[in-house]
């Protein structure tokens, strides 16, 4: 009986918690709610946390004003809506498609979100944006790179960032340009990809482009993400001995890959990574030395600060919230997309979803208001930003420097990458 009573007590307390903890509603009359979906637990949790921190920076700029060259920084709140502020409701999707769907619905119907924002993993973005499409609510995506997302013919889906085909295209253009510049000849490429949607889409795009650009795919190696060892994978890459090595993987696997390549003495002359793990700030600070010479595509680079004064200012604000982590690829993309959405709401001068949709369709943000090296933000009929421009960065002396396109480059390309045995 004692145990039974104890158990009943635990349950009773739990019930009380559930009642007492109901969501508290802020009573401000003039505020606009945006629902934000990100993975905050699970292996991609850090990415979601970074993105949400960056959204807080954007909110600070919009709601409280700041001394920056951004239209929305000049005043407090959204001038188009009579100074209304934006409130964000951030939710954890756990990286699961069904949670993304349920949360999207809840955010719209209960939290009264007038727009949704998220959701990193392409699978979650797929289901969450499906809800927005059916309910007629704008969905802004900052960071899912699956090309299929903007091929669905949706009217309410907008993506500011480049997708895998854009990203991979620039790699192959770079290879061609480097061949001319250095008078070398590449014949084969080897592709290594983790096996979720991201890696699979990326590898598919690269395989197609390789054919288009006249390269032979010497090996295409998918592997289970979050593996305990990459010995077999690197062994295969050694056997393939391709001229250019193209990995698409997340942070954990990128760390493991770098160490395994060193241990097994695998020396590709050129390594061009598909972002993700390679641009994680943690990877840069801790593996910087070991990953010397690695090239990655990126939509963003900190070393563009000299050309864009916005970058250091926003990086400083971000660092205060993130516990010292630098603004990086994902956070910079989240910032850009969020400001784009806020800009559209402001121009719509209304919280009516259709007005916001219309404003988004006529978005035209000039390059000097972006932290990105893009030519601007303008959406095509599919909702894809056509101002995107991917850059390539190379790890040189423990930090990334922009090396391509050559007109944006801050450093010259190191080629070939020195073999492990020749490094200090």
């Amino acid at each position: 009986m004692r145990q039974a009573t104890r158990m009943a007590a635990v349950l009773a307390i739990l019930g009380l918690l559930m009642i007492a903890g109901g969501p508290a509603f802020a009573g401000q009359p003039k505020e606009v709610v945006i629902g934000v979906l990100y993975p905050m637990t699970g292996p991609s949790a850090q990415i979601g946390i970074d993105a949400v921190n960056m959204i807080k920076v954007a909110l600070d700029i919009i709601n409280n004003g700041a001394n920056l060259n951004l239209p929305l920084a000049k005043s407090k709140g959204l001038p188009g809506l009579g100074g209304a502020t934006i409130r964000v409701v951030a939710v954890d999707t756990q990286g699961k498609a069904d949670v993304g769907q349920a949360e999207a619905e809840r955010l719209i119907t209960q939290e009264k979100a007038i727009a949704l924002f998220g959701a990193y993993q392409s699978a979650v973005t797929t289901t969450a944006s499906q809800v927005a499409e059916r309910m007629g609510i704008p969905f802004m995506n900052a960071d899912s790179s699956s090309p299929a997302l903007t091929e669905r013919g949706y009217k309410w889906f907008f993506r500011t960032s480049p997708h895998d085909v854009h990203f991979s295209q620039v790699m192959f253009e770079f290879m061609k340009d480097l061949e001319k510049k250095r008078n070398v000849q590449f014949k084969t490429v080897a592709i290594l990809n983790e096996d979720t949607t991201f890696g699979t889409d990326s590898a598919k795009a690269q395989e197609d482009l390789a054919k288009q650009f006249g390269y032979t795919v010497a090996a295409r190696i998918p592997f289970r993400s979050g593996t305990t060892s990459l010995d077999a994978e690197v062994g295969r890459l050694k056997s393939a001995n391709a001229d250019v090595f193209l990995p698409s993987l997340y942070t954990s696997d990128a760390i493991l890959l770098t160490r395994t390549m060193r241990n097994l003495d695998y020396n590709p002359k050129l390594l061009i990574a598909q972002n993700a793990g390679y641009t994680d700030p943690k990877f840069v600070t801790e593996m910087g030395k070991e990953a010397e010479g690695a090239i990655t595509r990126a939509p963003f680079s900190l070393d563009l600060a000299a050309k864009k004064p916005l970058i250091p200012a926003i990086d400083a604000m971000f660092k205060k919230l993130s516990g010292g982590r630098d603004m990086a690829d994902v956070s910079a993309r989240a910032f850009t997309a969020f400001m784009t959405l806020a800009d559209a709401i402001n121009r719509a001068e209304s919280t009516d979803p259709a007005a916001i949709q219309k404003a988004l369709q006529t978005t035209n943000i000039p390059p000097d208001q972006l932290v990105m090296p893009w030519t601007g933000v303008q959406f095509d009929a599919k909702g894809q930003n056509i101002g995107v421009r991917a850059i390539l960065q190379q790890m040189q002396g423990g930090a990334y420097s922009t090396i391509y396109p050559f007109d944006l480059a801050t450093k010259d390309v190191i080629y070939p990458v020195p073999a492990w045995s020749q490094r200090k």
Binding site: G42, R224, T228, S229, D231, A232, G235, E286
Partner: protein
């Protein structure tokens, strides 16, 4: 489908498989020990490994202590954790149904993982400059020095464990308890103390493995689950309760994993491991060295 890599790559692969296998074996040994003792599978075992790795990481970050030197500290910390787990949870579910046992430890695993994220964020961390790192040439083949040291240490830990069980009085008492709880109690062995000791030793093993693993693998709250799955299969392949079985099965799995990756396709390397496990237990339902 079948691809034949060069001899160098093949030999390198086998060596790596053996090295990683030794570590798998040490992780599995603790699981096996507990099962032999009280027929309980610790489904939080992966999280114990994760905590061992974090202990090594924090020793390095806070006190500059290399993982090689913090091995005793990791072992002691995890011994304590195992002790507490038995006292706080396992002792109460000993006579309970198998499912309750599974989910008590499973819940503990979720709890520990969440606690690690709560305390230390989900960020990936690593030991930036471990004492042993980089490649080493063995018979002209390049392999990881840290892996070599880790596998050597695993074998040493196995030797100590084996010696402890077969040659010491406490070990004999442990073995006696494993074979027949009631008879052991009649002989004057304090079985409760044996169980606690078993949990302590089991966790210490995984703590040692965690320290060595931390010198070359990244650390984050979910790292344990990557290794835990392999550990369960290792234990079942070797035979629940057999320490020697864990060693053989661990090395087998390490080699199968690399060979399947090299010869068939890396995407299917775990499929090969699981398939071979299934084939073995279908022929020998008690595993390679299991007693029942």
């Amino acid at each position: 489908m079948l691809q034949i890599p060069s001899a160098e790559v093949l030999i390198q692969g086998i060596m790596n498989g053996v090295l990683m296998g030794c570590l798998y074996a040490l992780i599995a040994a603790g699981l096996s020990l507990i099962f032999g003792l009280m027929e309980i599978v610790n489904f939080a075992h992966g999280e114990f490994l994760m905590l061992g790795m974090y202990t090594a990481f924090w020793m390095y970050t806070l006190f500059g202590l290399d993982p090689l030197l913090s091995v005793p500290i990791c072992a002691a910390a995890l011994f304590l954790l195992g002790w507490l787990t038995h006292k706080g949870i396992i002792r109460r579910i000993l006579g309970g149904p198998m499912l309750a046992q599974i989910f008590a430890t499973f819940g503990l695993g979720i709890f520990l993982r969440a606690a690690a994220q709560f305390l230390w964020t989900p960020d990936f961390r690593q030991i930036a400059h471990p004492l042993v790192q980089g490649p080493v040439k063995l018979f002209g083949i390049s392999i990881g020095l840290a892996q070599l040291v880790a596998s050597g240490a695993s074998l040493a830990a196995f030797a100590v464990l084996y010696w402890f069980i077969t040659r010491t009085e406490a070990g004999a008492a442990l073995e006696a308890t494993a074979q027949d709880r009631q008879a052991a109690a009649l002989m004057g062995i304090n079985t409760e103390r044996m169980f606690t000791l078993g949990w302590g030793i089991s966790s210490a093993c995984v703590g040692i493995a965690g320290a060595f693993l931390a010198s070359f693998f990244y650390v984050f709250p979910y790292v344990g689950s990557l290794f835990a799955l392999i550990a369960y299969v290792t234990v079942a392949l070797g035979g629940f309760g057999s320490i020697l079985g864990s060693l053989v099965a661990g090395i087998m799995i390490g080699v199968i994993e690399v060979m399947a990756g090299l010869l068939i396709a890396p995407a299917f390397k775990y499929v090969a491991v699981f398939l071979i496990y299934l084939i073995v237990v279908l022929i020998r339902p008690q595993g390679l060295f299991g007693k029942f």
